[in-house]
């Protein structure tokens, strides 16, 4: 059974240039997205900037409202919670189950609140425990995220912490309600390379301990490989390929996934720089034509790619879903 099931998710942003703000079109930031996240599973959402990864994450935590589609959160009692149309009595329950870790630890923590207040805020909001039990929980959580001893961190302000310590605070805050799903929006991209690995290691260890599922948003395939059980590759608001991490990286089927992998630099200066197969840059999907989204940059584009609408995600066997006319089952 899956924890989250996303179907036909769509979010459009109006484009309104000029003086009178007349709407001239819509950016299809997220267009007809389908995916599932299993219980305790970590799904990586990979793509270039502007492809709709963050918008997807924000819709999952309820910071954005989808224009179409459904997000369903499976409950422990077997029922389903409709995240898009939450009833008032479900809202609190939803907030306790889905949390988010933000990209920038310098901006995602209130500079005027101490670590104690930041980590304890979800408990305060949900009225869990009194001051004494809350303090015990906060100490425990700080120890779990490696801010030990808690006493020397609890009453510090964010400006007295390093970037890595701040992100640990953000993780502690996201996990203190013991959520079932955490959306992590590039949580390590703002951090120094030397401390990324310790934060990622911490996140995956805590996920196993607490049974948390992640939607891990990143543009870094190496990070996704380390963190995720499965990877979904996004291009211009569409998921173009989903699969088990190792399988997908070993044998990318979609031309875009192949291009992404070919662009990963090899850390050896004696080797020639990677030959990237695709030209141009990612555009904006403003009122896209009924053709494959990737057709302009695709090295293998055929007539069928232009003449028919964007291909649907199809199961190509072995849990691999690919949205490409040119990939058939035989290539597995």
């Amino acid at each position: 059974m899956s924890l989250v099931k996303v179907e036909g998710l769509r979010r459009l942003f109006p484009v309104s240039p000029g003086l009178f703000r007349r709407k001239t079109g819509f950016v299809h930031a997220v267009d007809d997205l389908d995916f599932e996240i299993g219980i305790g599973e970590s799904l990586g959402l990979v793509g270039e900037s502007g492809c709709g990864k963050t918008t997807t994450g924000r819709m999952l935590v309820g910071l954005e409202t989808p224009d179409q589609g459904s997000i369903v959160l499976g409950q422990a009692d077997g029922t389903q919670m409709d995240v898009v149309n939450l009833r008032a009595d479900q809202r609190v329950k939803f907030r306790r189950q889905v949390q988010m870790i933000f990209q920038d630890p310098y901006e995602s923590i209130n500079p005027r609140r101490t670590v104690f207040e930041t980590v304890g805020e979800p408990l305060l909001i949900h009225g869990i425990g009194d001051l004494g039990t809350r303090e015990e929980q906060i100490r425990e959580m700080l120890r779990k995220v490696g801010l030990a001893p808690p006493e020397s961190f609890m009453f510090r302000y964010p400006h007295e912490l390093s970037g890595g310590q701040r992100q640990r605070v953000a993780i502690a805050r996201a996990l203190i309600l013991q959520p079932r799903l955490v959306v992590a929006d590039e949580p390590t991209s703002m951090l120094d390379v030397s401390i990324r690995i310790s934060i990622m290691e911490l996140m995956s260890r805590l996920a196993k301990q607490m049974g948390v599922s992640y939607l891990y948003i990143t543009h870094d395939l190496a990070v996704a490989r380390y963190m995720c059980d499965r990877i979904a590759v996004m291009y211009l608001g569409k998921v173009v390929e989903i699969g088990e991490t190792e399988q997908l990286l070993a044998n990318p089927l979609h031309p875009y996934t192949q291009a992404l992998l070919s662009a990963v630099p090899v850390p050896d200066p004696s080797l020639p720089p990677p030959q990237v197969q695709i030209k141009g840059g990612i555009g904006k999907a403003v009122d896209p034509a009924p053709e494959c989204r990737f057709v302009d940059r695709c090295p293998q584009a055929a007539d069928v790619c232009r003449s028919t609408p964007h291909p649907p995600l199809e199961d190509k066997g072995g849990g691999r879903l690919v949205s490409c006319h040119l990939v058939d089952r035989s290539s597995i």
Binding site: V61, L63, M100, F102, N110, R112, E121, I125, G164, S194
Partner: protein, 369 residues
């Protein structure tokens, strides 16, 4: 920019916070407040202008406290020194020669000569000398700043006037800040119709000429000092301050930590009071200082015009000088107008200077590198 090293040396200020149990929660808050106060004081101290303002405010605070000490120790006798009912029964005199007796004051141009005439014994003949009691009397050992035309001590009035100014200024400032931050933050957070209606109301209040409105209100109602403070607070809090604080709150509202609070389940009021307001508070304290300046000056204007129903204030002292006809004789009767006028200028300037000094704390970009 990023700190690659994750371990830090211990902050020497932290340990005194440590070991505190939950039952002494307020102690931790107090220690944290003290620490941030110390840090801000370090910045403030560098600014000589702000420091000067603080010294002037401290001077006036002592002045405002003095009458209590003087009356309690018996140094001042209330019958003589009370700012309202006090009367100097034995004023200094000047020896004069009788030149002419005025029989009908209405034919005489010099009205003051007629007033004097009433104090002169009937038995005096032209050519006799007599001692004329001086009221207002110039400064002497008993009355450090002289007396007013009613025989009351100017120094005592000045000290009591300082109390009125502090009371008015601080009350107006508090009202301003409470209204300004709440309205500004609410407009920024909710946006849309709430923002539009609150901001149009703010525009309206900015357009109203403050002193003119106060004169009208003063004409309609009996205007107490605290009424004035509240009206000034509303005008300034709802007007300019709310607009400035709204723009500040807008900048805070788009920060990811507001999203983080929303994801944690925070309600609108939680986000406004727990996140937005603490982040606009420094700026609003700055505006609080500027409000004090405006309030003290408005009070002086209104009392001078005789609209304010108050016992003692600096504006009222000048009002008396005006109604008794001494206003234009500054060189001869300087103690009636100069001390009060200087006090208004000094104290309102002092709050402005402190505001400028605090500007550096609020705006790190202004700090000297």
């Amino acid at each position: 920019m990023m700190n690659a090293v994750e371990t830090r040396t211990e902050d020497p200020d932290i340990p005194d916070v440590l070991g505190a149990e939950v039952d002494s929660w307020w102690k931790i808050r107090l220690a944290l407040t003290r620490r941030s106060f110390r840090e801000n004081w370090k910045i403030f101290r560098r600014n000589k202008v702000g420091l000067l303002g603080l010294v002037i405010i401290a001077f006036w605070a002592i002045m405002a406290a003095m009458p209590t000490v003087f009356f309690a120790t018996g140094f001042w006798n209330p019958a003589t020194y009370d700012p309202v009912t006090g009367l100097e029964l034995d004023p200094p005199t000047r020896t004069m020669v009788m030149v002419e007796r005025i029989t009908d004051p209405n034919t005489e141009i010099d009205r003051r000569a007629a007033l004097l005439d009433g104090r002169i014994p009937d038995t005096l003949q032209i050519g006799d000398t007599f001692d004329l009691p001086l009221q207002p009397a110039p400064p002497d050992a008993r009355h450090w700043l002289g007396t007013d035309p009613l025989g009351r001590d100017i120094m005592s009035q000045l000290m009591h006037g300082a109390r009125a100014s502090f009371f008015l200024g601080i009350l107006a400032a508090v009202v301003t800040v409470v209204i300004g931050t709440t309205i500004g933050s609410m407009a920024a957070y909710f946006g849309g119709i709430v923002d539009a209606s609150l901001m149009r109301l703010a525009d309206l209040l900015i357009m109203i000429p403050g002193v003119a409105l106060l004169i009208v209100i003063g004409g309609l109602f009996t205007f107490q000092l605290w009424h004035l403070a509240v009206v000034i607070g509303i005008l300034s809090g709802f007007g300019g301050t709310a607009i400035v604080l709204k723009s500040q709150a807008l900048a805070v509202k788009v920060k990811p930590f507001i999203d983080a609070a929303r994801v944690a389940g925070g309600s609108a009021s939680h986000i406004i009071f727990y996140h937005l307001i603490p982040n606009v508070m420094p700026l609003s304290v700055l505006y609080m200082m500027f409000t004090v300046t405006g309030a003290i000056q408005s009070e002086a204007v209104l009392s001078f015009l005789g609209i304010l129903n108050t016992d003692t204030s600096w504006g009222l002292m000048m009002n008396l000088a005006r109604t008794q006809g001494y206003l234009l004789q500054v060189t001869d009767y300087w103690w009636l107008t100069v001390p009060a006028g200087l006090s208004v200028t000094l104290l309102s300037a002092a709050f402005f200077l402190v505001g400028r000094g605090m500007d550096e704390i609020v705006n790190p970009r202004l700090r000297r590198r």
